[in-house]
C-alpha cells in the first residue's frame, strides 16, 4: 500500500516539475477554468451575421476595453473626444509601453503576447486590440476576431468613398474576410533618377517587372556606366526578404506543409545577392565609389519606405532644389503576372474580439478612430520623420478625407519649412504624384515566422561564414519543423 502511494506521489511530482517548463501554457489553461462559464452566450453569433450590426444603444452604460502593446497619443485624444460625444460609453485604453525603447529586450512584448492569448482563449479578451505586435493569422484561424469587413459593408453610415479602399480590399483573406482595419500605412517604393534613366536608353516596365527583370535592368545600366551603381538597398537581408516575399508561394507550400528553401530558386537568390554586392548593388551606410567622372547622385535606383507624408514632401523639396536630377517613384518588383500596383505596410491594425458583448459599441468606436476626426487638428510637420516618433498623427491615414484635409491645411499654411534648406512650396503636381502612389498601392507587406527564420539564418551566408547550401539546409530544416507542427 505504501509503495503504491509513494509511486503515485512520485509520478505526480514528475509531472508537476515538467509542467513548470511549459508554465506559460499551463497558466493559460488554468485561467480558462474559472472564466469559461462567465462569458455571455450568443455574443459570438453576432460576428457571423453580416450586414446587420445594430447601432449601439445610446442609453446603455458600457466600458470598452482597448488594449495595445505600444501607446499612441492619438488613441487617448480620440477616446476623450468619443467619450464627450457618447457620455454613456467609457473607453479604457490599456497599453504596455509608452515607447519601444522601454522594452529593448522585448520581454514586455512577450508578456503582452501571452497575456493576450490567455485572455482571448478564455473569452475575457479586450473588446478592441491593436494587432501590430500579435500573430494575427493565428487569431483569425482560431476564430477569435470578428469579421470587421462585414460590419463595414453592413453599415450605411460608413462612407467607402472617404477611405482608401484599395488598401482595405487588399487586406482581405482568401475567403473574403477582413479581420483587421489598419488606421495608417506606409508605402514601400523604389526611387529612381528619371533623367539618368532616360539618358541611358535602357528600357524597363516597372508596372510588371519581377526581381530578376529588375536586377537584369540594373546590370545593363551599370554595364554602360561603370561609375554608377545600379541600386542602393537597405541591406542584403532586406533584399532577400523582398525577393522571398514576391516568390513566397514558390518557396512555401502551406497546404502540403512543404518548404522549398533548398531549391535552386532560393539558392539562386542568395548567390545573386552576394554576387551583386559592391558591383551593382550598394547598401546604406557603405561608401560610394565616387570617381571623377560622376557627379551628384551616382545611383540609378534606391528603395524607400515612405512612413509619413512629410517624408514625401522632403523628397519633393529636394527635387525642386536640384534641377539636374529628377527623382521619380517606381513600383517595386513583384511576382510574375501580378497586377500592377505598389507595396504598402499596414500599421495600427485594429481588431474586434469575436466574443465581445459590446461589438456594436466597439465597431462604432473603431469607425470613429478610422475617420480620424480627433486627429484633424494635428498638423503634419517636421518634428519627427519616423513613425515611432509621430504616431498616427503623422502617418498616412486610412481616411481619405483626413488626408485631404491635412494636405489642404498644409498647402494653405504656405511654403514648408524643411529640415535642411529654405522653405519650399508644395505644388499641385507634387500632391498629385503622391495621390497616385497612395491610390495605386495594393500589395501588403507581410511578415511571419517563416520569413523571420530565414532572416535570422541568412546573414551567416552574406558574412561569408557558411556556404549557401548550408544556410539553405538549415532554413529548410527549421521551416519544415514549423510547417509540420
Amino acid at each position: 500500500m505504501k509503495k503504491i502511494s509513494m509511486f503515485v506521489v512520485s509520478c505526480l511530482l514528475i509531472v508537476v516539475f515538467t509542467g513548470c517548463t511549459s508554465a506559460s501554457g499551463e497558466g493559460g489553461t488554468d485561467n480558462q477554468i474559472t472564466n469559461s462559464h462567465t462569458e455571455q452566450p450568443g455574443a459570438s453569433t453576432q460576428a457571423t451575421q453580416p450586414a446587420a450590426m445594430p447601432s449601439p444603444d445610446p442609453n446603455k452604460q458600457s466600458t470598452l476595453v482597448f488594449s495595445m502593446y505600444k501607446r499612441d497619443s492619438y488613441f487617448e485624444t480620440a477616446a476623450k473626444a468619443y467619450e464627450k460625444e457618447h457620455p454613456n460609453t467609457k473607453i479604457n485604453v490599456k497599453y504596455i509601453v509608452k515607447n519601444t525603447s522601454e522594452d529593448i529586450s522585448r520581454a514586455k512584448q512577450e508578456k503582452f503576447k501571452s497575456t493576450m492569448i490567455a485572455d482571448f482563449l478564455n473569452g475575457k479578451g479586450p473588446d478592441l486590440v491593436v494587432m501590430d505586435a500579435l500573430p494575427a493569422d493565428k487569431y483569425v484561424a482560431k476564430g477569435l476576431l470578428a469579421n470587421v469587413g462585414d460590419m463595414l459593408k453592413g453599415d450605411p453610415s460608413f462612407k467607402k468613398e472617404n477611405y482608401y479602399m484599395n488598401i482595405l480590399d487588399s487586406l482581405q483573406t482568401s475567403e473574403g474576410g477582413l479581420y483587421m482595419l489598419p488606421l495608417s500605412f506606409s508605402l514601400h517604393t523604389l526611387t529612381g533618377d528619371q533623367q539618368l534613366l532616360e539618358q541611358s536608353g535602357v528600357h524597363f516596365n516597372d508596372q510588371s517587372w519581377t526581381w530578376t527583370e529588375f536586377l537584369d535592368t540594373i546590370q545593363q545600366l551599370t554595364a554602360k556606366r561603370d561609375d554608377r551603381y545600379g541600386f542602393m538597398a537597405f541591406d542584403e537581408n532586406n533584399l532577400l526578404l523582398n525577393m522571398a516575399r514576391t516568390d513566397y508561394n514558390r518557396l512555401v507550400d502551406a497546404v502540403n506543409r512543404t518548404a522549398h528553401f533548398d531549391s535552386d530558386l532560393f539558392l539562386g537568390m542568395l548567390e545573386q545577392i552576394k554576387q551583386m554586392k559592391g558591383q551593382t548593388v550598394l547598401y546604406y551606410g557603405k561608401e560610394l565609389k565616387q570617381t571623377e567622372g560622376s557627379k551628384g547622385f551616382p545611383i540609378y535606383f534606391g528603395e524607400d519606405e515612405l512612413l509619413t507624408p512629410y517624408q514625401y514632401f522632403q523628397y519633393a523639396a529636394n527635387m525642386q532644389n536640384s534641377k539636374e536630377h529628377s527623382l521619380v517613384f517606381y513600383e517595386k518588383p513583384k511576382a510574375e503576372g501580378q497586377q500592377p500596383g505598389g507595396y504598402f505596410e499596414p500599421y495600427l491594425k485594429i481588431a474586434i474580439h469575436a466574443k465581445s458583448s459590446l461589438q456594436p459599441e466597439a465597431w462604432d468606436f473603431l469607425k470613429f478612430l478610422m475617420s480620424g476626426q480627433a486627429s484633424a487638428a494635428a498638423a503634419w510637420g517636421a518634428n519627427d520623420l519616423t513613425y515611432e516618433g509621430q504616431g498616427f498623427n503623422g502617418t498616412f491615414p486610412i481616411s481619405k478625407s483626413l488626408y485631404t484635409a491635412k494636405t489642404d491645411n498644409m498647402v494653405q499654411a504656405g511654403p514648408l519649412q524643411m529640415l535642411e534648406g529654405g522653405p519650399v512650396k508644395i505644388t499641385e503636381q507634387d500632391l498629385k504624384k503622391l495621390d497616385s502612389l497612395v491610390t495605386s498601392a495594393n500589395k501588403p507587406i507581410f511578415d511571419g515566422e517563416i520569413l523571420q527564420i530565414m532572416a535570422k539564418e541568412s546573414p551567416a551566408y552574406f558574412h561569408g561564414q557558411k556556404s549557401a547550401q548550408e544556410v539553405a539546409k538549415i532554413i529548410q530544416n527549421k521551416v519544415t519543423t514549423y510547417l509540420n507542427e
Binding site: 509503495k3 509513494m6 509511486f7 512520485s10 509520478c11 505526480l12 511530482l13 514528475i14 509531472v15 508537476v16 516539475f17 515538467t18 509542467g19 513548470c20 517548463t21 511549459s22 506559460s24 501554457g25 499551463e26 493559460g28 489553461t29 488554468d30 480558462q32 477554468i33 469559461s36 462569458e39 459570438s44 503576447k113 501571452s114 492569448i117 482571448f120 482563449l121 478564455n122 473569452g123 500573430p135 493565428k138 487569431y139 484561424a141 482560431k142 476564430g143 477569435l144 466574443k355 515566422e449 527564420i453 539564418e457 551567416a460 561564414q465 557558411k466 538549415i474 530544416n477 527549421k478 519544415t480 519543423t481 514549423y482 509540420n484 507542427e485
Partner: protein, 293 residues
C-alpha cells in the same frame, strides 16, 4: 450505533492529519490536479470555450504531425543518453569523494557550485563559449580545424548534454554520498576478512545497498532532464536546429499558436509516458528489494 462510528472515526489519527495536510493539498489541487483534469478535458474538445467533443481527433492530429514525432524522438534520445550518463558520472564522483582525498572539500564545493548558478548566466557563458566567434571555435581555429556553428549542427545535442550534466552532477553526487554513508563499515570489514576483492565489494555491497538511492536519483534526473528545455530555449529560440527540437518546444509553440487542444494532448501524452516509465521502474525496484530480503 451510527454515532459511535463517527466518534471512533474522529478519535483516529487520520482526522488529525487533515489540517496539517490541507495547505499542501490545496496547493497540489490548485497548481496540479485541477489543471491536469482541465488539460485532459481540453484535449478532447475542439475549442476552449463552447467547444464540441471531438474524441481522439486532437491525439490523431498530434501523432500525424511530423514535428511532434521529431520532438518526441529528440526528447527520448536526450533523456535516454543524458540520464545514464549523468548517473554514471555522479556515482563515480561520489565514490571518489567517499574516501580520503587531498583538497576533498574544495573539490566537492566546486562540483556542487553549478546548482546555485542562475540559468541566465549559464546561457550567457555557453553562448560566449560556443558562438561562431566564441572560445571553442577559437581553439579549433588554432588547431587548423574548420569552425563549427555548434547550435546548428548535430553537436548541438552534446552542448545541451554538457549543460545538463554539469548543472545536475553536484546534486546527484550529494544524494549518492548520503546513500553511501548509510552503508555500515562493518559490512565492508566482514567482506574483507572473508577475502572479497574491491570489485566484489562494490557489486555485492555498495550497489546493493545503494539501490533505493539509485532509484530516487534516476527519478530526479528524469525530472531534471525535462527541465533542460529552459536553457535550450534561451540558447536557440523557439525553432532550434532539428536535434534540439524537444517536446517542450512543441508545446510552447502550440501555446503561441493558440492551439491549446494540441498542447493539452501533447502534455497528456507526455504525462502518460512518464507514468508508464515510472511504474516500470518502481516495479523493478520492488522486485529487487524483495530479492534482497
Amino acid at each position: 450505533m451510527n454515532r459511535s462510528w463517527v466518534r471512533r472515526w474522529l478519535r483516529k489519527d487520520g482526522i488529525a492529519a487533515i489540517p496539517f495536510l490541507a495547505p499542501s493539498l490545496a496547493g497540489f489541487c490548485l497548481f496540479f490536479a485541477v489543471p491536469l483534469v482541465m488539460s485532459v478535458y481540453y484535449s478532447f474538445f475542439d475549442q476552449v470555450t463552447d467547444g464540441t467533443f471531438v474524441g481522439l481527433d486532437n491525439y490523431r492530429e498530434l501523432l500525424e504531425s511530423s514535428s511532434f514525432r521529431k520532438a518526441a524522438g529528440n526528447t527520448l534520445l536526450f533523456t535516454g543518453v543524458g540520464v545514464p550518463l549523468l548517473i554514471l558520472l555522479s556515482l563515480g564522483l561520489a565514490l571518489l569523494f567517499n574516501r580520503q582525498l587531498w583538497l576533498k572539500n574544495a573539490m566537492k564545493t566546486a562540483v556542487v557550485l553549478p546548482l546555485v548558478v542562475p540559468i541566465a548566466s549559464i546561457v550567457m557563458i555557453t553562448q560566449i563559449f560556443i558562438d561562431w566567434n566564441g572560445v571553442l571555435n577559437a581553439w579549433l581555429h588554432r588547431l587548423d580545424l574548420p569552425r563549427v556553428d555548434w547550435l546548428n549542427s548535430d553537436g548541438a545535442l552534446m552542448i545541451i548534454l554538457l549543460i545538463y550534466v554539469w548543472k545536475n552532477i553536484g546534486y546527484n553526487m550529494i544524494l549518492f554520498l548520503a546513500g553511501l554513508q548509510t552503508i555500515p563499515h562493518s559490512y565492508y570489514e566482514t567482506a574483507r576478512i572473508e577475502g572479497a576483492g574491491s570489485l566484489r565489494q562494490f557489486w555485492g555491497i555498495t550497489v546493493v545497498y545503494l539501490t533505493p538511492t539509485l532509484f530516487f536519483v534516476i527519478l530526479i534526473s528524469l525530472v531534471n532532464s525535462f527541465k533542460v528545455f529552459r536553457e535550450t530555449y534561451m540558447l536557440a529560440g523557439a525553432y532550434p536546429y532539428d536535434r534540439l527540437y524537444m517536446i517542450q518546444h512543441y508545446m510552447n509553440n502550440m501555446f503561441f499558436s493558440l492551439d491549446i487542444q494540441k498542447l493539452s494532448a501533447a502534455a497528456i501524452f507526455m504525462a502518460g509516458f512518464i507514468v508508464i516509465l515510472m511504474s516500470g521502474l518502481l516495479k523493478i525496484e520492488h522486485r529487487f528489494l524483495e530479492n534482497i530480503s
